[in-house]
Amino acid sequence: MTFTPLEAVTLVFVLGCALTAALLRDVLAAIIASAAYSLGIAILWIVLQAPDVALTEAAVGAGVMTLLLLLTIAKTVRPENENEFERPNLRSLVVVVAFAGVLLATVPALPAIGAADSPVAGGEVTQYYLENAYEETEVSNAVTAVLAAYRGFDTLGEAVVVFTAGVAVLLVLRREVFV
């Protein structure tokens, strides 16, 4: 397994941000660290050739989520004179490390990035999309073709989920308008 310098630096940056966000006791600092983490993950998505996912991660993960979290802690009080870092509980640490170990153990089984014989690229459905998406849907972004045409019903469901989230918050906060 080899990394380009960009991949290695981004990976270290993401891991560092994730650890910082988990260990810092100050909530404001942890939110800033998690925003940086999202931005790093977005860069990784671009490196892995998934620009659609990267755009979502940067806009929602790093942008909107950070603003909503900041807004939430603005209503809280900031405690003074505390330890700067959380002291992790030994038992939870063991569980987390074991879980990460199990997940990492599956990584060598994954096909190489861009491998022609990977199950996803060679699958019958994928090949159908790649060969017919342009003629059948007339859009040149295959991701959009799958999302809005072949899987349009799923996407309609997703849009309704977003709509429902807004309605649910209105109900919980007992308001009739958003602004």
């Binding site: 909107v64 009080v77 959009t144 602004v179």
Partner: protein, 175 residues
């Protein structure tokens, strides 16, 4: 109660006329009137809005689509609120426009999906529409609808969370 969002919790009582004074709007969210932030946001927002609309409109031909473009476009209002205060931006926004964006967005998607049934096709079969390149324009219309929903919901969630829960009113269960 000292706020956390501005990062300077001790200064909230500093007196009136200093340029970086912390003012409190009606939601008790600390607001720092910063010339740097206001100027940056003023310069940057037209470009962010353009990018959001581009990602939304051009999602059929390049990376992006309704979800991403809507999130970027919605962020513009959030930036304005952070720079100029949540209260003034809330007053400036028309509630009917936000509700309309969300309703019209979902409505567009559902109408496109059901319309093809009416015209004798399957559910969401774009080619049932008697227009040239029906599939392409149908997908783009649906993406715009998704963008409207996402932008409206993100703006709405922001202002709802900023307003928070009104603790003064009696709970319905108590009566």
């Amino acid at each position: 109660m000292s706020g956390n969002g501005s990062g300077s919790s001790g200064n909230s009582t500093s007196s009136g006329d200093s340029p970086n004074r912390i003012t409190r709007n009606d939601e008790q969210v600390p607001y720092v009137e910063s010339t740097i932030i206001m100027t940056t946001v003023r310069v940057v927002t037209p470009f962010i809005l353009t990018l959001g609309l581009f990602v939304m409109f051009h999602g059929a031909s390049s990376a992006g689509g309704g979800f991403q473009g809507g999130a970027i476009a919605g962020t513009v209002v959030l930036l304005l609120a952070f720079a100029f205060g949540i209260g003034p931006v809330r007053d400036w926004l028309n509630p009917a426009v936000i509700l309309g964006l969300i309703a019209v967005g979902v409505g567009t998607f559902v109408a496109v999906a059901l319309g093809s049934l009416v015209l004798g096709g399957e559910f969401l079969q774009y080619t049932a529409y008697p227009v040239p390149h029906a599939s392409k324009y149908g997908i783009e219309l649906v993406e715009l609808g998704i963008g409207a929903v996402v932008a409206g919901i993100i703006t709405g969630l922001f202002f709802l969370i900023a307003a928070g829960f009104e603790t003064g009113e009696p709970m319905e269960d108590d009566t």
